[in-house]
Amino acid sequence: MTLQGSIRFALRMALGAGAVVIVAVVAMVDHGQRLELLRPELVTGWVLLASVVFLALLNVRKKLSMVPVGRASDWVAAHVVLGVVTIVIYAFHARTVWPSGYELALALLFYAVILSGLIGYLLQRIAPGSLANLGYEVIWERIPAELADMRERIEVSILECARETGSEVLPRLYREELAWYFRKPRFVLASLVGTGVASSWVHHRLDSVSIYLRGKEIEHAEFLRECARRKVHIDRAYAIQGLLKCWLLVHVPATYGFLVLVIWHLILVHVYLV
């Protein structure tokens, strides 16, 4: 292992150890204060707030790529470890799974953040491998352009087929059925699971009309099959990459919503309860 690798390994170990220390200290303070009939919620609440603010700083780090504020991967490691710590501190603080009143909204947002975070973490571990195994790499933002390009080439082929053979079979099949399929990503859920529904759908339709095809038409139909095979890859890439982006659409807004309610919670606690 290189020196840099060793330092980073030590850093990760220190993160784990730090997490255990935080949890242990919070548990001790909580227990001690309860024995003395004090209000440990104040301590755990402020620790919880500090943790959540630190977790939210990851998004700020992403905006500060131009300055050396540590590697994003180290921040993510800290984010994950502290995220787990936050669940434990929350449990000490809330002492209930299902609070009442506005605190229920606070709890629901917290659960949304935690759950989306866990799902995101798992997705980030599983999905990249699936994308790599596709053997077809496409940038998410370019998928519409890829499809437009494919459609254009198919339509040129279909027109050429009609001109060359005078047959209406492939043009009709394309207009009635296949144009829908090639217009945008389809069978997204099926693509995600990898059931092969999309592939069957296209090939079934091409097989259905194959008895009407002769000579050059068969070549054009083969080109359609080839495009369909590529489209299956694009759809799967779209589905997986979409999923990798979707969970953030819950995680980040829920975090900000949670922080807003936390401020409201702080005001209420310090005005009415303390």
Binding site: K62, L64, S65, M66, P68, A72, W75, V76, P128, L244
Partner: protein, 547 residues
């Protein structure tokens, strides 16, 4: 739309103060007087080259002209006075006052947060700032010349001698420090001019090549551990007997771009498996593939680059008295390769008796590796990715396609990313279309203005936007398609156009490895999953470690 005159070669001469009288005086100098000016094309006349691609430099005694290790794209002709070349092991870095690249401060880097234009791409303001030259003197460092000569071996060069051509021609670092002995006047010729002189004048071509070969040979032998301990006299003998061979072409990229990876394997080997060894082959520059016959093909066991050698083990075994020893592998040039062939009898006389241990046999180990273990290396060799020193590799098994790397690149380059997250793939590895800062940056070959050059201190291949004339030569030369041409705009978002034709002004754009940014390449730091790394293929093992 705003307009400016389309930039041209020689819009900004190397030396703004070079006058017609200077040019006339230089053309009368013996080195130029013999040149047949009629051989030069009308658009690149000899006096134009002298006027625009060279500059006069005056040095005081003890002043450093070039520093060993600095990257430079120019050669020097001694017009008056003498200079001394400090031979290996050279001067300590502290004495040379090494230059450092101009790093941004933290505040300056941070201010990009609000200075970057995300609404307008490729914004430029051309206010006539002076150009950064391709190769400059070493910045006024002065050393005690008497002390240097006392503690180091030096070679004195007088009027009419050329030096610095090794770095200029090989697109590499300076191989020795040169210090002015007395008050000296030198003509610095940037490499674009040197290239034209070589191209259109046979005398200059022979002269430069001869100097290049002689100097390169001595420098290289002196640095090799096998010969480093030899006395000067013995080293002279080794140098005299060593053959300097070049295979392939320096502008190999042209042919490579036309061929596919597998086609590039069809080359005649320098030495073939089964041949009797006649000398040690030392690689001075370029690359060579080491292969061994297997089945119906050739299996790459490894590749050789500058500093590697081939055949020592076999020659040693011959010397030990083993019979019927032949080469166990072939070596073939990859693009181009400079080879030094040290004859067997020289090794017998000067090397083998001094060897404390037999040479290591790495080929056997390589051959015993499982066949599929080499696929990444085979691919990297076929695609010539071995040329890269900062190749951007993405582990697709880890990459979540978040494009944080691209955004980070944009945020450190005025809102414009300098690479595209796409490229050739092998297994789960992707080599993206980001500049690899090659060992042999062929993109520099055709640049007419020297806008694309190596940063003197870091060696990164960078583009001076102000002297780039948008000729696309670098983009077309890059074998990896890692340079893009972009249309530039003014701060209002209007395209800047050529005032004569109305056509947009275009500039070359590529990764500069964030050489001015504090903290190194932003793409690496921004990757949340450690999927992106900048590596040299010489460190293949590092890839495994990254997994």
């Amino acid at each position: 739309m705003s307009s400016i005159p389309r930039p041209q070669r020689w819009d900004r001469p190397f030396d703004e103060n070079m006058g017609d009288e200077d040019v006339a005086r230089l053309l009368a100098f013996p080195a130029f007087a013999d040149i047949d000016a009629a051989r030069f094309p009308d658009q690149i006349p000899l006096d134009g080259i002298v006027h625009n691609d060279s500059r006069l430099l005056h040095f005081s005694p003890g002043e450093v002209v070039v520093r060993e290790g600095d990257y430079g794209n120019s050669a020097f002709l001694v017009l008056d006075g003498t200079v001394s070349v400090v031979l290996a092991p050279g001067l300590p870095a502290s004495m040379l006052g090494r230059s450092s690249s101009r790093k941004r401060g933290f505040a300056s880097a941070f201010s990009q947060l609000w200075r970057n234009r995300n609404d307008v791409s490729e914004v430029r303001v051309y206010d006539g700032r002076s150009q950064a030259s391709a190769g400059q003197g070493a910045g006024g460092t002065v050393v005690d010349i008497a002390a240097v000569k006392q503690s180091n071996s030096t070679v004195q060069l007088g009027t009419g001698r050329i030096f610095g051509e090794i770095a200029a021609l090989a697109r590499g670092p300076r191989t020795a420090t040169v210090i002015a002995d007395s008050s000296a006047t030198l003509l610095e010729i940037r490499w674009q001019g040197l290239r034209e002189l070589r191209r259109f004048d046979v005398g200059w071509r022979e002269r430069i090549d001869r100097t290049y070969r002689a100097n390169a040979l001595k420098v290289h032998l002196g640095e090799d551990p096998l010969f480093a301990g030899l006395p000067a006299e013995a080293l002279e003998k080794v140098a005299a007997a060593t053959l300097f061979e070049t295979y392939g072409s320096l502008d190999w990229n042209v042919q490579f771009k036309r061929k596919s990876g597998s086609e590039s394997r069809d080359v005649t080997p320098i030495v073939a498996e089964g041949d009797y060894p006649d000398g040690l082959l030392m690689i001075r520059g370029g690359f060579a593939r080491v292969t061994r016959h297997i089945g119906n093909g050739e299996r790459s066991l490894t590749y050789l680059s500058a500093g590697s050698s081939f055949g020592l083990d076999e020659l040693y075994r011959v010397w030990r008295g083993e019979s019927d020893i032949t080469l166990r592998a072939s070596i073939a040039p990859l693009g181009y390769v400079d080879v030094l062939r040290v004859p067997y009898y020289i090794l017998v006389e000067h090397v083998f008796p001094n060897l404390k241990e037999p040479p290591q046999d790495n080929l056997h180990e390589a051959y015993e590796r499982p066949l599929t273990d080499d696929s990444l290396m085979e691919w990297a060799i076929d695609e010539r990715f071995i040329n890269g020193t900062r190749t951007m590799m993405i582990d697709l098994d880890r990459c979540v396609r978040c494009d944080d790397c691209v955004r980070a690149c944009a945020s450190t380059h005025g809102g414009n990313p300098r690479f595209v997250r796409q490229g050739k793939q092998h297994d789960h590895w992707m080599v993206t279309n980001a500049c690899m800062h090659c060992i042999d940056p062929v993109c520099m070959i055709g640049c007419p203005t020297g806008a694309i050059h190596r940063d003197q201190a870091t060696g990164m291949v960078v583009i001076n936007d102000e002297t780039c004339i948008g000729c696309q030569t670098c983009a077309n030369s890059c074998p990896y398609d890692n340079i893009r041409m972009v249309e530039v705009r003014n701060p209002l978002g209007d395209i800047i156009a050529d005032s004569a034709t109305g056509r947009p002004i275009i500039k070359a754009s590529k990764c500069d490895f964030c050489y001015e940014q504090p903290g190194g390449p932003a793409c690496v730091r921004a990757c949340p999953h450690d999927a992106l790394s900048r590596i040299s293929f010489a460190e293949l093992a590092k890839l495994t470690e990254l997994r």
